[in-house]
């Protein structure tokens, strides 16, 4: 190796690692990583305890990685590199057909499902009102034909059928409601949730299970509130080469009173929270995002009052539910560990719906709350 060339390589290497470390250190700390939709690691706290437990080291490694110069660029570059190397997935997200990203759903642990179904059945026994149970299949199931050939994913439909067969709750046929419409935009392409259109079909599946009249899409005018939605799958996959999604609404926010418990105290909310449209996490436009409890009341409605044990799929579903229910109480067991039984008795609830997306149901650790 000639001297000149050695100098070139040495300078290239040292300049790269040197500038990466110095500039990363000088950059101001970020509070939020919008493209990845998550909070970065805070600077690790130095203490004898954090040093001896190794917590300091773990946090320091995450901190360095989260605050590195050009992080968004590196994340996107890795997704590109995976794609160019022939991979059809990155970080557990499939690059599916029709510009769609689809989360891989791992086959759930049967023992965990058994235990959780026990909680559902305990709820049926605990309360004197009817309990309905619905599992929303994920895009990996309904849009299976968009997945790369042979891509492994859980057999959701047959698992849902088995769970429905054995439970004491009345069931809601979400699969039957969504599958016939698989050629429509019922899920977002860059987010794991269903769209308002998907939620509309879901709402009718609920009404059908309850023996209520279905609602008709022709009675609504579709409003597109944003065309710049890059969802959770955009964030985790690192895929930056797809066009963004659009968010539509159908039900106008009129004659509806929303009370939200974001921080433990009631505050006035709304079906649609416009401020989220300016943020990365635009799905929180529906009801304003994750909250402990949310009560949605419809004026002049003589429908039943329903308690919905929810995950985030229910946020875009709720506008349609107000068409048939006088009150919708959204109860999130992840944040609300109080007794469901007491809540039903104290609030004059007429029926309970346990509604989860398949993927959340098979991973959620807080379903024991149902039996409380």
């Amino acid at each position: 190796m000639s001297k000149k060339f050695s100098v070139l390589l040495t300078v290239l290497f040292c300049a790269f690692i040197g500038s990466m470390s110095v500039i990363s250190l000088l950059l101001p700390d970020k509070d939020f990583l919008p493209l990845e939709n998550r909070y970065p690691q805070k600077p690790p706290k130095l203490s004898a305890e954090s040093l001896s437990s190794g917590k300091f080291m773990e946090e320091a490694e995450d901190y360095v990685s989260d605050h590195i110069l050009g992080r968004d660029f590196w994340v996107a570059a890795k997704a590109w590199s995976e794609r160019l190397s022939g991979k059809k997935e990155n970080n557990g997200v499939y690059f599916a057909a029709q510009d769609t990203l689809i989360n891989r759903v791992d086959p759930p642990d049967p023992a965990k499902l058994d235990k959780d179904m026990g909680y559902v059945d305990a709820l049926v026994g605990n309360v004197s009102v009817p309990v309905y149970f619905g599992l929303i299949p994920s895009a990996a199931e309904i849009w299976g034909d968009r997945l790369p050939e042979g891509a492994p994913t859980a057999a959701e439909q047959s698992i849902i059928d088995q769970l429905y067969f054995s439970t004491g709750a009345s069931t809601i046929d979400m699969y039957g409601a969504l599958a016939p419409h698989k050629d429509e935009d019922i899920y977002y392409r860059t987010d794991h949730h269903w769209t308002s259109l998907g939620a509309f079909y879901g709402a009718n599946a609920i009404f059908e299970a309850l023996g209520l009249d279905p609602i008709d899409l022709n009675d609504y005018r579709k409003t597109t509130v944003t065309g710049q939605f890059n969802g959770t799958l955009f964030s985790t996959s690192g895929v930056r080469w797809l066009p963004p999604d659009q968010i539509d609404t159908y039900v106008p926010d009129q004659g509806i009173k929303v009370t939200s418990w974001f921080k433990g105290v009631p505050e006035e909310g709304s079906l649609y929270a416009d401020r989220w449209l300016a943020e990365k996490d635009k799905y929180s436009y529906f009801l304003g995002g994750r909250q402990t409890l949310c009560v949605v009341e419809k004026e002049d409605s003589d429908g039943p009052s329903v308690l919905l044990i929810r995950d985030s799929y229910s946020d875009s579903l709720t506008p349609f539910l107000t068409e048939r229910f006088s009150q919708v109480h959204l109860f999130d067991p992840r944040d609300n560990l109080t007794s469901v039984k007491n809540y039903v008795e104290d609030n004059g609830i007429d029926l309970v719906i346990v509604l989860y997306s398949f993927a959340n149901f098979s991973t959620d650790q807080n379903l024991f709350v149902l039996a409380r």
């Binding site: 040093l51 990685s65 022939g86």
Partner: protein
């Protein structure tokens, strides 16, 4: 700390190199020593005490051996060597094998040894072997005892090869610890080798590692014959590119600091026999066992039964060195059986047969060995091997196999090519000018792509926590 993390590359390495080159020449070992201690403390915290203990004990023993020898007291020298070997083996056995032995005894009803739940100090199998070589080399007169405890500490803790090898014998490194030259040429060649190692680890090993993990996690009923082989092929590439990648990184980092380490892998997958494979795979471990175990036992200059016994001991030790679990012992003895078969039966016919036969034969047995190596749980291993040989009552292939094959085919082909000397040969045929351009482009592209994988490193396993 692991090499393939942003904190190592952009902070630890950058700062260490900076300090190393700004302090006066005689302060360099202190910088390396402090950096190495920090490096080990970062990952293992309290266990850094082992470094101090090892350094102090082996340093004294080395001096003791030399003094006894100078006085012609061979008995005393032997005693000191033995005492140092006992200390190192005790360290290794306590941390690595205590729980294994206790657990095995308990499973047959003997409960006098409690299972302690000891966390294995990372790299202990590598550094205890290195320090053991020191007193032996001094005793044999292959090296002079180290006078400076700081220099000796630098040898014991040297971070580039501390946690995943190569295992460097003191006689190969002692002089360099005392005096070594640093030059831009050496540094630049270090950069090249480091980049090769990083690329092997981040771009190939981690990638095919995900494929192997998918197959390893499947229940036997979900496997297919073709899938089981694809999984093992993935692990075959993962272990080679991961391990040789770490060795390359160690060699590259060493050069940046002025050290020259011997190569640890020499394209093992192009071997035409298992005998040849073990001359090319993890060379520093095989030579260690040859020099410090096989030859002292008598090597092959003895009766045939004794020679076979010596080999048996060496391969049992090689197996169990890789992890405190029965499957590693089986893995070592599997190679003992194959090597015996080759020595008595197969080597001659293999030499006469077309090269392809030797390659296919070697890779077949090597791949089967990796299945034994990778699956520690015996029932799981049994059913996996059954599926591989078509006895699992599962289909030949399924949709998932097609998916994985298609996804990973480009990487697997790249890995196969990179397992041969083809790329290096092509590179050496280029003119000097073209070589420089190609090399610059590769290093620059390597830095960029590897950084992307470092930053979004959701999957970055460390395979040698067992060793």
């Amino acid at each position: 700390m692991v090499f393939s993390t942003p904190i190592f590359m952009f902070y630890f390495l950058a700062l260490t190199l900076f300090l190393y080159y700004i302090v006066p020449r005689k302060g360099r070992n202190v910088v390396v020593l402090c950096a190495s201690l920090f490096f080990y403390w970062w990952g293992e915290r309290a266990y850094v005490a082992i470094m101090f203990l090892s350094t102090a004990i082996d340093y004294t023993h080395g001096l003791l051996v030399e003094r006894c020898k100078a006085r012609g007291n061979d008995r005393g020298a032997k005693l000191a060597v033995t005492s140092s070997i006992v200390f190192n083996l005790a360290l290794l056995c306590f941390f690595k094998y205590w729980d294994f032995i206790a657990g095995s005894l308990q499973s047959v009803g003997l409960t006098f040894m409690p299972v302690l739940g000891i966390h294995l100090p990372i790299g202990i199998s590598f550094y205890t072997f290195q320090t053991m070589s020191y007193t032996i080399d001094v005793y044999r007169g292959d090296a002079r005892a180290q006078r400076s405890i700081l220099n000796f500490g630098t040898f014991v803790t040297l971070f580039p090869q501390l946690i995943a090898g190569p295992i460097i014998k003191y006689k190969d490194l002692g002089d360099q610890i005392d005096r070594r030259t640093c030059s831009t040429e050496k540094f630049a060649s270090g950069v090249q080798i480091l980049m090769v190692g990083l690329g092997k680890k981040l771009l190939i090993a981690n990638n095919v590692g995900m494929l192997w993990d998918s197959y390893k996690a499947m229940a036997p009923s979900e496997l297919t014959v073709a899938g089981a082989w694809l999984g093992v092929l993935a692990f075959t590439f993962q272990i080679y590119f991961d391990f040789s990648g770490y060795s390359d990184m160690a060699i590259g980092l060493g050069r940046m600091l002025g050290f020259e380490f011997l190569p640890n892998f020499n394209y093992p997958y192009i071997s035409k026999s298992i005998t040849e494979f073990w001359r090319r795979w993890h060379i520093s471990l095989s030579t260690w066992f040859r020099e410090y175990l096989y030859i002292p036992l008598g090597g092959n200059r003895c009766s045939r039964p004794r020679w076979m016994f010596n080999l048996f001991v060496v391969w049992a030790a090689t197996g169990i060195w890789h992890g405190a679990s029965w499957n590693f012992l089986c893995w070592g003895l599997y190679f003992f059986a194959l090597l015996m078969a080759e020595k008595f039966l197969l080597l001659k016919p293999l030499e006469r047969a077309p090269a392809l036969v030797g390659h296919v034969y070697t890779m077949f047995f090597v791949m089967v060995s990796w299945a034994i190596f990778a699956i520690e749980d015996f029932p799981h291993l049994g059913s996996y091997l059954k599926v591989m040989f078509g006895l699992g009552g599962v289909p030949l292939a399924d949709g998932a196999f097609g998916y994985y094959l298609l996804c990973y085919l480009p990487i697997l082909c790249a890995a196969a090519l990179a397992s041969t000397p083809l790329g290096t040969a092509l590179y050496h045929r280029l003119g000097a000018r073209t070589q420089q351009i190609v090399c610059t482009v590769l290093v620059a592209a390597g830095l960029l792509v590897c950084t992307a994988y470092l930053v979004d490193g959701t999957y970055n396993p460390f395979l040698y926590s067992n060793f």
